[in-house]
Every structure is written in C-alpha cells, then in structure tokens.
Symmetry: C2
Subunit: 211 residues, 2 copies
C-alpha cells in the first residue's frame, strides 16, 4: 500500500485516530494531508495539518510531548488512519493524557485498563507512602513478605479451584495479580516485559510447540 | 454537556471513533449527525449517518453485528466523539473484527492485546485439540495437572525473585500467567471477571484501606 492509494477528502485531508500503543487509550483525532503523513513516516513521529491555522504542525514540537509512531493502519474504505504511538507526554493541550476526557454518556464503568491503572497506583504508593495503606505496609515489610503472599494467594487459587468455587477463584486470582504487581514494582519488571515475553512465546512464533 | 454544545461540521456531522470497550481495539470511524447521535444514546446502540447514501443507518441492523454503547466521550474541541462499545460481531463489512486491518507502516510488533489474544488461542485449542500441543496436553491431563503447574510456576517466581534475577522473574511470571489463563478457561472465569474484581476493589473504591 502506498500513500497515494489512500482517499484524502476534498480538502486533501484524512482523519488520523491517535492511540496509545501500550494502554490502548484513544488520545486524539487529528487530520493529515499527503505531506504531513509522509513526514510522519519519515520522522517516525506525528505531523498533522491544522485546519484552523492551515499549516503543518509537529505534535510536541513546542511542548515536548512528541508521539513516536509504532504502527499505522488504514480502514476498509482507505479514508481514515489509525496511528499507534508511544506518547512522550499528554496528548491534550489541557494537560490531560487524552483529549477525550469529558463524558457525554456513560452506561458502565470502564475497567479495561485496570491493570495499568493499578500498576500506576502501586508505583505512586511506593513513591508516596501512606500510613494505614496495605500497599505501603507491603513495601515496608519488603520482598520476603510479598513473596509469602504470592505463595499464599496461589494456594488459595488452588483450594478455590478444587472447591469448584468460581467466585472464590476470581477473588484469589485478583489477589494473586495484585501481589504479583507489587512484586514486579519491587523488582523493576514492567507489564510490557511480561507482554513482550508472552507475545514472543505464544503469538509471534506461530506453530510453537507449546501451543 | 448537551448534544447541542458539540460542534458538528458544515454538513452537520461529527466523526465518531468506535472502540471495543473490553480490548481497546479501535473498530471503525463513522460519522453521526444530531439525529443519529440522539438515537444512539436513546437506543444504547450505534446509529450513523452514511455520507454516500445520505441516510441514517443502525450498525448491525442487517448483519446482526450491533454495538452496545458503554460510554461516549468528546474531545477538547468538542468536534469528535469516542464511543466505547461491546461489539456483538465484526465491525467491518469484510468480516474483520476491525475496519483497520491493513497496515501502512509498522515499527514494532504490537503486544498490547496479548492477554486477550492468548486467551482466544487457549479457548480455540480447547475446542480444537491438536496432537503435540502443550495446551491440548494440559486440557487432557485435567485441572489437577494445571493446578500443580500453577503451584510450580509460583515457586519458580519466588526462587527467581530471591535470586534477584529479573529475566528469570519475567520468564516465570509469564509461565504463571499462561497456566492461570488455562485454569480460568477450565473454570469458566474470564479476564473481565478479574478486571471487574480488581476495578471494584482498587480503583472504584477510592480511599479503600487496601491501598
């Protein structure tokens, strides 16, 4: 696929959805013309066309909040782009991570990113201990205590499973997940380290014997 | 915020990014006018305006692949929407889950959704056993074997952590994650069950003692 085969609109523009490659959060919707898309692919960072100022702009040029491009896909009509990026700061000029920070309508709470959010809370609690916080207690006790809890929660997963108690298993796997995230914080292991390992092992290597 | 405060363009349209509320995948970019957005919020399923046919259309009306609306947010300029949905089938008329299935440019492999993808592979392997597959072997051996592996992998996480061997910990947590996902498949526990539990426990209840 070449850029020339994309369908730019009557103003020579194509909408580009900008998504955080790690969290999946949609950060902003921008517009690109042929030139800014070319620059985006060459520089490996996002360049847009400002409809109000009628000029190209490089996201983060003044703020420093650049967006490193990981992947660009286009839709079935070839008239819109999805650009996955690693953001080096907030996408929005208001300082919010995403421009889509205001809610028009909500049906259910969104727990999609709970693991990332929980990881951030654990990291925050490590940097700013709080009296009476269980996470602070774990950091104070140290790695042996956390490892004891990891072992204990695993035993409880096994017991719950042998009791065929689905709700108990959900509870205990959640407990195991939380304590494993605390362990990862202590050891400097990131969620992406685990995802990369699983990706390389199970997804990328098709026909892997393990599958 | 009222619909009237949104900025519809000169044709009375606003672009709407459709995102899977669970996986975070961006599914399509559609356009809505005041009427289709109102219908979307009333019916709790997506209604768009077709620019080519100049008519409203209800996503999934003929295909059955409706999109239940979970949340609608709007951006800082109030001129684009992000709609998080539970899709009841593929978003794309080609049968692909997402309209953005073709790649223009790729820098890094995307492992963001590896847990969801791996869960699907495990489920697929349960429905379609393959000789020589490790996952098939685990399903054939049954839950006691899987629980033994969960215990074993946890022990290996503990040993790796005590050795302060980061790469070993990444490897063993990945192993633990994989075997826990196999256990969840057997017990009918979904990733969303765990996410909901963690969300309710750690994120929703601000000031929770555990934090």
């Amino acid at each position: 696929m070449q850029i020339d085969q994309l369908k730019f609109d009557e103003n020579g523009l194509i909408p580009a959805i900008i998504q955080d490659a790690t969290t999946g959060d949609v950060l902003m919707l921008g517009y690109m013309n042929h030139e800014s898309l070319t620059k985006t692919m060459e520089a490996n960072e996002t360049w847009f066309y400002s409809r109000s100022r009628q000029t190209l702009w490089n996201k983060g040029e003044t703020s420093g909040n650049k967006q490193s491009v990981q992947k660009i896909t286009f839709d079935c009509d070839a008239d819109s782009l999805l650009i996955q990026v690693d953001p080096q700061g907030p996408a929005c000029h208001t300082g919010e991570d995403s421009c889509f920070y205001r809610t028009l309508y909500a049906n259910n709470p969104n727990e999609r990113n709970v693991i990332h959010t929980l990881t951030q809370k654990i990291n925050e609690r490590r940097r700013n201990p709080i009296d009476g916080s269980y996470t602070t207690y774990l950091f104070n006790e140290g790695i042996d205590k956390v490892l004891k809890k990891v072992g204990e929660e695993t035993s409880e997963v096994i017991i719950g499973a042998k009791n065929n108690d689905k709700q108990e298993v959900v509870w205990e796997i959640s407990d195991l997940t939380y304590h494993t995230l605390v362990l990862m914080e202590i050891l400097g292991v990131s969620i992406n380290d685990i995802k990369k390992e699983l990706y390389g092992r199970h997804i990328q290597k098709e026909g892997n014997q393990r599958e």
